[in-house]
């Protein structure tokens, strides 16, 4: 097995009384697409800051590409590209000048950085906008340029902090494509997100982080293995179920697992295929007319919910914060 490209052992970070990150350990192999999935305030940004040199862990160890970085990431910063959750480029410079400036920070010569900047503008779809000031860009354009700035020096490791949060669907799709293309060319990617589908679609390995703790981490395949044969049914009603109704359901159907979902829906999980009519009858009797019943493939979302107890509903709400 290769030496891990990022090796974090028991990282810990407190801010006053708040423990932002607690005992976080993970290792990332070269070329891996590692997802860090968790709700708001889980400690994702704090973890990225510790890994990239913007925050000093209170305790724990860190090594990047074999370079011992505990307490000082400087020695490995040339290997790292960072795309922060909020753009940190210069509004008064043009897109092109911003990229060229970032290239210079990594010691790239004038011609090399100009050429690379032009190439990147092209590939993120900002060739035209490159001559305009960054301050006038839309959110999606800003995010794309920030990604370009993060990879100007062709880093082997790229950290992305919620790259698709707060932008429109089309731009988000474009950004996901950019990131998976980068990964395909051999870049190791560390991505934080609170979009479960995004993690499932992109990542080869995922860690769930909740309240500063990594509660589970594994390859996507292993995470999905327990739900592989599981049968899931989504039932949609006119109103959402109360705790008491859920408890009654669980009592009457002990072999099924029930989870409330968005929009008055309820998911029903079972190890094997099951009949629908008894459930529908039970619900309608209690005043929940069933408008729709859909069978679906189990997803990472179901795993996340069962591991963390946090519903996708709640995660989505967080994203809008």
């Amino acid at each position: 097995m290769n030496e891990p490209i990022v090796l974090a052992t028991s990282l810990q970070k407190r801010f006053g009384n708040i423990t932002a990150v607690q005992d976080a350990s993970f290792s990332i192999e070269p070329g891996e697409f590692f997802g860090f999935l968790g709700p708001n305030g889980a400690g994702k940004t704090t973890t990225i800051n510790m890994l990239t040199g913007l925050a000093r862990p209170d305790s724990g160890r860190l090594s990047i590409a074999g370079i011992e970085c505990t307490g000082n990431v400087k020695a490995a910063q040339h290997l790292i590209g960072v795309v922060p959750d909020e753009s940190n480029l210069y509004p008064e410079l043009t897109g092109l000048d911003n990229l060229a400036f970032c290239g210079a920070l990594y010691g790239m010569g004038r011609t090399a950085r100009k050429e690379r900047a032009a190439l990147l503008l092209e590939s993120v779809g900002l060739a035209e906008a490159g001559r305009r000031k960054f301050g006038g860009y839309s959110r999606g354009m800003k995010r794309k340029l920030t990604i370009a700035a993060g990879i100007i020096h062709e880093p082997p490791i790229l950290f992305l902090d919620e790259p698709t949060t707060g932008i429109d669907v089309e731009s988000a799709r474009h950004i996901r494509k950019l990131i998976s293309d980068l990964h395909a060319t051999g870049t190791t990617v560390f991505l934080t997100t609170h979009y479960i589908e995004e993690a499932e679609r992109l990542c080869s390995r995922v860690a769930f982080i909740v309240n500063g703790r990594v509660v589970r981490q594994d390859s996507l395949e292993n995470l999905l293995a327990p739900v592989k044969g599981v049968s899931i049914l989504s039932l949609c009603s006119t109103r959402s179920l109360e705790e008491a109704d859920l408890a009654a359901l669980s009592r009457s159907f002990p072999r099924y697992v029930f989870n409330p979902e968005k929009g008055n829906a309820l998911s029903v999980q079972s190890e094997e295929a099951f009949p629908i009519s008894p459930l529908v009858a039970f619900l309608e009797e209690r005043g929940f007319p069933v408008l729709e019943a859909v069978r679906r493939r189990p997803s990472l979302e179901d795993v996340f919910v069962s591991v963390t107890g946090i519903g996708s509903e709640q995660m989505k709400k967080e994203g809008k914060k």
Partner: protein, 245 residues
């Protein structure tokens, strides 16, 4: 990695984005122009009076020109998070802080030229020791830049940086022997004067322009260099402690 590439890039970006912007050119060049004129006219000491005032006016121009900019180039960039980009790049903190101050230093030195050019219109300045003048101007610019940087790193809001730097530079106008000698200050204020680096810069300027001064020039130069070194390393330490926390 070639250190000069990022250093020069940061300097020229700051120049382009901040120092060469019209409001700063006016603050930096017209303001010294205005107060030099004002001092020269008000002094009433005739042509000889101009020579007497020149060291103080020059020091004042450098001090204000230099310290005013770092609130923007450092505090503002930290607040708007673009400073994080610099902290994330593989440049040592020392190089980074030198790059951020070099623009202010050049700006300060440029400010020193204004009063001299104006004085040249009225008086003969052939008696001035230009090498010493240059040394004094540069050292005052460096020490003011590092003072400004120290303040910029110690606070988190731009207005705090501005208020705080006024809080230290206005007293300097009166205490550092710019317009009247330190010896004429009340005894209890003198230790304060000797604790402020600009006192030594102003003294060095007097030596360069008027040929007289309180202290030996080498003494002044060493003390100023000492101040620069201490302020610089204190600031780098502060950045490490406060911004990579």
């Amino acid at each position: 990695m070639k250190t000069w590439i990022p250093l020069f890039a940061i300097l020229s970006k700051d120049m382009k984005a901040y120092y060469l912007k019209p409001p700063n050119i006016s603050w930096g060049l017209i303001f010294p122009f205005a107060w030099t004129g004002m001092f020269f006219i008000r002094s009433g000491g005739g042509i000889g009076g101009i020579m007497e005032l020149l060291p103080g006016v020059t020091a004042l121009s450098i001090l204000f020109g230099t310290t005013s900019m770092l609130a923007v180039t450092v505090t503002f960039e930290k607040k708007s998070r673009s400073f994080d980009r610099l902290l994330l790049s593989p440049i040592t903190l020392e190089t980074l802080m030198l790059a951020k101050t070099s623009g202010a230093i050049l700006f300060g030195v440029a400010n020193a030229v204004v009063p001299v050019l104006m004085a040249m219109l009225f008086i003969d300045v052939s008696g001035v020791s230009w090498p010493l003048f240059a040394a004094a101007a540069i050292l005052i610019a460096v020490v003011s830049a590092f003072l400004g940087l120290f303040v910029a790193v110690a606070v988190s809001e731009v207005f705090e940086a501005q208020t705080f730097s006024n809080f230290i530079r206005f007293p300097m106008v009166f205490l550092c022997g710019l317009f009247f000698p330190v010896q004429s200050l009340p005894v209890f204020l003198r230790p304060l004067a000797y604790a402020l680096p600009v006192t030594y810069g102003a003294d060095l300027l007097r030596r360069a322009i008027l040929g007289t001064g309180m202290m030996n020039q080498w003494m002044n130069i060493s003390i100023l260099t000492g101040y620069c070194t201490v302020l610089f390393f204190l600031t780098v330490k502060n950045v490490r402690r406060r911004w990579i926390s």
